[in-house]
């Protein structure tokens, strides 16, 4: 299992302005006859430059909350504001623009485009942002260098190791300078040594001023964060700093 860094070595940075404000959010799914309450009234504030872990067993509403935070889904009821904008009532394409500008996704299975090289994968969010080709090449190359893949920019995903693939995915999440980085089990498909490397990279990103939200069921991964939210049966069971 991936051990957390020694507590005394970790700094807790002062938090910035409010990014996400969730108030009494509920989400219902209709599964045939049955109505499933995935979230039953969750309230949550996330500030800039927080490092947050969301934990919970399967069926706790963890994935639903993550999809909501990532603007992939909208709540059935309650209020969700992202940087002061009301997300709950947004249309599909508005949500797509929010995801493009404000959120960087890191997936458990990396979700890279198999036939495109690292550079093109990282450029993708910039294409959707309407950035001109020469600018986006330059920015994508820069970010890949920052995550330690400066010499791998023209490799296809199948020519990269698992850790390198996740670094490409992280570079892709960073490239549009989003307000939050949302990682879903980022070490789930990696061996423990590589997992530690990725968590170290997250630590660096946090120290550079990024806002990180990591969804995980692994205690050791969650303990790298500065704040842990535990969900249980669609409700927040606990929310507090790591100690």
């Amino acid at each position: 299992m991936t051990p957390a860094a020694p507590l005394e070595a970790r700094q807790v940075r002062p938090v910035g302005p409010l990014v996400i404000a969730i108030e009494d959010v509920a989400k219902l799914y209709q599964m045939g006859e049955e109505t499933i309450h995935a979230l039953r009234g969750v309230s949550l504030n996330i500030h800039r430059n927080e490092y947050l872990a969301i934990m919970g067993p399967s069926g706790s509403g963890k994935s639903t909350l993550m999809n909501m935070l990532g603007c992939l889904d909208t709540p059935t009821s309650g209020r969700y504001e992202f940087n002061g904008q009301d997300v709950a009532g947004m249309a599909d394409d508005e949500l797509a623009d929010i995801r493009n500008r404000e959120i960087g996704f890191v997936f458990q299975t990396f979700n890279l485009l198999a036939r495109s090289d690292a550079l093109r994968n990282v450029e993708l969010p910039l294409i959707y942002a309407g950035i001109a080709p020469h600018l986006r090449h330059e920015r994508a190359r820069q970010v890949l260098e920052n995550v330690g893949l400066g010499n791998r920019i023209h490799h296809k995903p199948n020519e990269l190791s698992g850790g390198q693939r996740q670094r490409v995915a992280i570079a892709r999440a960073l490239v549009n300078r989003p307000s939050i980085i949302l990682a879903d089990e980022p070490t789930g498909n990696l061996d423990s040594k590589t997992g530690i490397e990725i968590l170290a990279l997250f630590e660096d990103l946090y120290e550079q001023g990024n806002t990180l939200i990591v969804v995980t069921h692994e205690e050791s991964v969650a303990r790298n964060a500065r704040r842990i939210i535990r969900l249980h049966d669609g409700l927040i069971a606990s929310d507090g700093p790591v100690n």
């Binding site: 493009n100 979700n111 001109a132 080709p133």
Partner: protein, 417 residues
């Protein structure tokens, strides 16, 4: 503005990569479109060919000539209305000419009597049958649409004295006197010798039914002497001064002819004025019918091709559901995803359409080389039309699956394995 451009180039890049990555599948799918486009464009060339052949045929009839006849060219069930009409007589042509000459500002130029029937022509031991042999006066030279390769038309003096001279159509001359001039030679018709004094240039056939090159012209007096006055189909051909005023000319001629025949007001015409235009009016719906039926049948093959495209786009969307989810998570809007799959479908169609067009062109050239008479006509407009059809096929067949892809819920798409 920039964004849609980058999305477009990205979509084209993806489409090309996708086609390259699935060569076999793309080729087979494109094959359906290739076959469809070849079928439709070949039909198009055939329709155009028929059209051009048809117009050429009409021009041979003489666009500026009115034909006064007992029978309309196209009759239906109503033949009994015409059967008891009087036969057209040479004197009527003479009187018609006189009236035309006496009319100030007449739309008509001259009237010529023409009386013909089928028969055979011999020279030495060679013989041609099915020749349209007709007698007329020297003035027919002014109505004739063909030029003389050699010799001349007979004159009125030769006509009046029933001289046994004749003018041969191209095919008749070629068949009886292969490789040499026919002028001055003797041909036998109805057991009578005729001296050839002229031969005509090649004109082609009318709708492939009636060859203008298989004809023989002789003085009317000689014709009536050897074929009799009752056989065959006599008519008066009237040349019009201005071929854009055919309707007025026809009206004038009707009045003149009624005067010649002494018809009373209210009495229906006991003759018909045939024009190549009337022919056209009658045949146009048939032509359109052929074109529509042909395009419908060949269109079906294109439709099958389109179904192939639709199917492959569905498969492509299904296979890449997770990719769609990822792209949406990264900020792809609905239209971005729609465009991506639409362009993929259109690309396959355009590739198929281009190959199909090239094949059609090759086939047209081959057919033209093998059978010059076969009516096929390749044209620039055909290229434009088939490209438009290709793109439209891609858009129409790709739209439903692409729309489905664009409406996918990103949460569901991301979870898809």
């Amino acid at each position: 503005m920039g964004r849609i451009l980058y999305e477009l180039t990205e979509s084209i890049r993806i489409a090309m990569a996708q086609i390259r990555a699935n060569k076999m599948r793309s080729t087979l799918t494109a094959l359906g479109v290739v076959i469809g486009i070849v079928a439709v464009t070949l039909m198009g060339t055939a329709i155009r060919g028929i059209d051009i052949g048809f117009n050429n045929s009409l021009a041979m009839l003489g666009e500026d000539v009115l034909h006064v006849e007992k029978w309309p060219w196209i009759t239906g069930e109503d033949w009994w209305k015409y059967v008891n009409r009087p036969v057209i007589k040479p004197e009527e042509a003479t009187r018609l000419s006189r009236i035309i000459d006496a009319t100030p500002n007449s739309e008509l130029e001259l009237a010529v009597y023409v009386h013909g029937r089928g028969g055979s022509v011999k020279a030495g031991n060679l013989s041609v049958s099915g020749v349209y042999i007709f007698g007329t006066t020297g003035e027919y030279g002014r109505v004739l649409t063909a030029d003389f390769t050699d010799g001349r038309m007979f004159n009125d003096a030769e006509n009046d004295s029933a001289r046994q001279v004749c003018v041969l159509g191209y095919d008749v001359a070629q068949a009886l006197f292969p490789g040499r001039s026919s002028i001055g030679n003797t041909v036998m018709v109805q057991g009578q010798p005729f001296t050839v004094i002229g031969s005509l240039t090649k004109q082609g056939s009318f709708l492939g039914l009636f060859s203008f090159d298989s004809q023989m012209i002789m003085p009317l007096s000689a014709f009536r002497k050897y074929f009799g006055v009752r056989s065959g189909n006599p008519e008066i051909q009237v040349k019009v001064r201005d071929k854009t005023r055919m309707a007025q000319a026809s009206d004038e001629l009707t009045g003149d002819m009624r005067r010649v025949r002494g018809q009373l007001p209210g009495e229906p015409d006991n003759f018909t004025i045939n024009t190549s235009d009337a022919f056209k009016e009658k045949l146009d719906p048939i032509k359109r019918g052929i074109a529509l039926a042909g395009l419908f049948v060949t269109g079906l093959s294109l439709f099958v091709g389109a179904i192939g495209i639709m199917n492959i786009t569905f498969v492509s969307v299904r296979e890449r559901t997770k990719e769609i989810g990822t792209r949406k998570a990264l900020g792809a809007r609905r239209r971005t995803i729609l465009l991506q799959f639409l362009i993929e479908a259109v690309s396959i169609c355009v590739v198929g359409g281009t190959i199909g067009l090239a094949l059609t062109y090759g086939l047209c050239m081959a057919v033209k080389a093998a059978m010059p008479a076969f009516p096929l006509q390749f044209s620039v407009s055909l290229i434009v039309v088939s490209m438009v059809v290709s793109v439209a096929t891609g858009v129409l067949s790709g739209f439903i699956p692409a729309m489905g892809a664009s409406r996918l819920d990103p949460v569901v798409a991301l979870r898809y394995e």
